[in-house]
């Protein structure tokens, strides 16, 4: 091999190695060390107050999925009606359904455009946990002294996380948004959620849980303006084992960015009451 070739090869190897190195370096940007810059409360806890948003396609499908056309009324929307591709947010890639539950998930998806069986998001029903977190709307956390309030951009949904209960108070009733008890594990806010009514879906793909579900969420500061969100979902009547989703939450940084109202009830009426309105009845 001529020296010129050798030099070229060495240079090429250097570029490749450099690219690989920079890839490995760029990965762990979100290390614990960066969390030191995260805002703190007077008592030294991370202050999660702010407007946050997930940037995933999880609301289309928690699992990885290719781009896909949608039938029926979606066609009229052209490219807007297509499902965008996504890598998924489920650790290990797949949701461990029991066989009969997997069949129900498929049925949910197939019948998602009919009023009675539509995705609860289309009906403007309260989204439940964890879906509220990754709907394509920002949400506002306000961290009080005894409670943490979260207002979600979709459907005027909200939660109160009780930080002041020595022991968990059983949910007096099943709620769409469940009952949330929080505690600190170092810098991580850990929230136990139960009392969910099981009528929410997890995404537009028909993934679902039952009223027996219990969820443990973890909000961990990673940098000044981002968190890692994790939710472990346990529901033996639907899944063969517990499973976890994880993705970053980003702080919305636009100047004077505000939490806005999206009271979608009125936008759901054309679907929900379609068959009982002279103007739209089939």
């Amino acid at each position: 091999m001529s020296p010129a070739w050798k030099t070229a090869l060495i240079a090429l190897a250097g570029v490749v190695a450099g690219a690989a190195l920079s890839a490995t370096i760029s990965r762990p940007v979100n290390t614990e060390n960066d969390a030191a810059s995260f805002p703190r409360t007077a008592d030294g806890r991370p202050d999660l107050s702010g407007l946050w948003q997930a940037l995933t396609t999880a609301n289309w499908n928690l699992e990885g999925h290719p781009a896909q056309a949608q039938p029926g009324p979606w066609l009229a929307l052209g490219a807007i009606g297509a499902i965008p591709p996504g890598q998924g947010v489920v650790e290990g890639g797949e949701i461990p359904y029991r066989p009969e539950a997997a069949a129900r998930r498929r049925a949910n998806f197939e019948h998602r455009l009919e009023p009675a069986t539509a995705d609860p998001e289309a009906k403007c029903y309260l989204p439940g946990v964890p879906r509220a977190t990754y709907l394509p709307f920002p949400f506002q956390i306000v961290q009080g002294t005894a409670k943490i309030a979260i207002a979600y951009g979709y459907a005027d949904a909200s939660r109160t996380i009780h930080m002041d209960k020595e022991t968990r108070v059983p949910a007096p009733l099943d709620f769409w948004m469940g009952r949330s008890h929080g505690r600190w594990d170092g810098d991580t806010l850990v929230v136990d959620v139960d009392g969910l009514n099981g009528q929410s879906w997890l995404d537009r793909a028909g993934n679902f849980v039952s009223e027996r579900v219990r969820i443990v969420e973890r909000y961990t500061p990673r940098g000044k303006d981002h968190l890692t969100y994790q939710a472990t979902i346990e529901d033996p009547s639907v899944f063969t084992r517990s499973w976890t989703i994880a993705f970053p939450l980003y702080r919305r940084l636009e100047q004077d960015v505000r939490f806005l109202d999206f009271d979608c009830v009125q936008y759901s009426e054309g679907l929900l009451y379609r068959d009982f309105q002279p103007s739209t009845a089939p």
Partner: protein, 332 residues
């Protein structure tokens, strides 16, 4: 409309939402008490030094028996006797929006039956002007009455959900204002240094109020307006402007401005009043005064999921379609 069908429609509506209709048709409530405002009261503070309003509060004591405006029969009376207030509450509990007992919620349903607070003796929620009446510009009251009449005609034979009152559709109440009705009058406040949230149990409405934020830009308008909060001494002031005009509060739309004042006056009382302005609707600003009472020893705010269980709206529309088909002499 056939009598039986009409009764059936009414009953369908009553299943879920009649109290909401009641609330909608009446101009609403609340009230009262200036009890326990000791002058030596020290306002509790958050760790970051703001007055601490956090906790659960209620306006149950205004229940349904104190209207926004003072009834003519009570002209000149700011607070009635306790016996009269009890009687007004009793009368209220025994009638429905149609003025009779058919299709009403049971008395046991209403918070007024359970509340540990005495019914307010106030005779109107409006404290200024002194006559307890909305100071409409001369032509506005007549216009609103005509609108109301037209709305009732649509309600009698609804074609689409929008023909029915907002309450029956489970749309949110007007923000902030949140006038008391027969039940679920509870509110929970959570504060952080930069924000205040108020969760209104009716109808799972959580307001997010940024503190000391710049005024909203003109391009941003919302049905419920855009709120901005600030502290004036120990008083929390929330100004809400930039209404889209899609919804009306007492006839006011785009030009509406609501300024709310919250001030702790005792361990159990939060003085709350708001000033309503719109020179295109009202002859002058007017004030609602309805102190909130602390209620977190016995209560947690529940999830009021109205829309999710709104079978009434389906049944009402289905009933209207059925009635129309009967009228034409057809079968279903």
């Amino acid at each position: 409309m056939d009598r039986d069908v009409r009764r059936w429609l009414i009953q369908c509506a009553a299943v879920l939402a009649l109290p909401l209709l009641v609330a909608h048709l009446r101009s609403q409530t609340p009230p009262a008490g200036s009890q326990g405002s000791a002058s030596n009261y020290t306002v509790p503070r958050t760790p970051w030094g703001h007055p601490d309003f956090q906790g659960i509060w209620t306006t149950d004591h205004f229940g349904q028996h104190v209207d926004l405006e003072r009834p003519a029969a009570l002209a000149g009376v700011f607070e009635s006797t306790e016996a009269d207030a009890d009687q007004r509450k009793e009368d209220e509990a025994n009638q429905n929006a149609f003025g009779d007992k058919v299709g009403n919620y049971g008395r046991e349903w209403r918070d007024t039956e359970f509340s540990r607070f005495k019914p307010s003796r106030r005779t109107s929620l409006i404290s200024d002007p002194e006559d307890g009446r909305v100071p409409y510009l001369p032509e506005v009251r007549a216009r609103l009455a005509a609108n109301r009449q037209a709305a009732r005609a649509r309600e009698a034979s609804p074609q689409v959900p929008a023909d029915l009152p907002d309450g029956l559709r489970c749309l949110r109440g007007f923000p902030g204002v949140n006038l008391p009705i027969g039940y679920n009058n509870n509110k929970q406040i959570v504060q952080s240094p930069g924000f205040v949230t108020i969760l209104y149990e009716m109808n799972h409405d959580m307001r997010v109020i940024p503190l000391n934020s710049p005024p909203p830009l003109g391009g941003l308008r919302q049905a419920w307006g855009v709120p901005s909060g600030r502290w004036e001494g120990d008083t929390l002031v929330i100004e809400t402007t930039n209404f889209s005009g899609e919804l009306a509060f007492q006839g006011a739309r785009e030009n509406l401005k609501i300024t709310e004042y919250f001030r702790r006056t005792g361990s159990e009382e939060l003085d709350y009043r708001f000033v309503v302005e719109d020179p295109t609707t009202f002859a002058r600003p007017w004030t609602v005064w309805m102190p909130w009472l602390r209620d977190d020893t016995q209560y947690e705010v529940f999830e009021y999921a109205c829309h999710e269980g709104n079978y009434s709206l389906t049944n009402t529309l289905r009933g209207a379609r059925f009635a129309a088909s009967q009228k034409k002499g057809g079968t279903r």
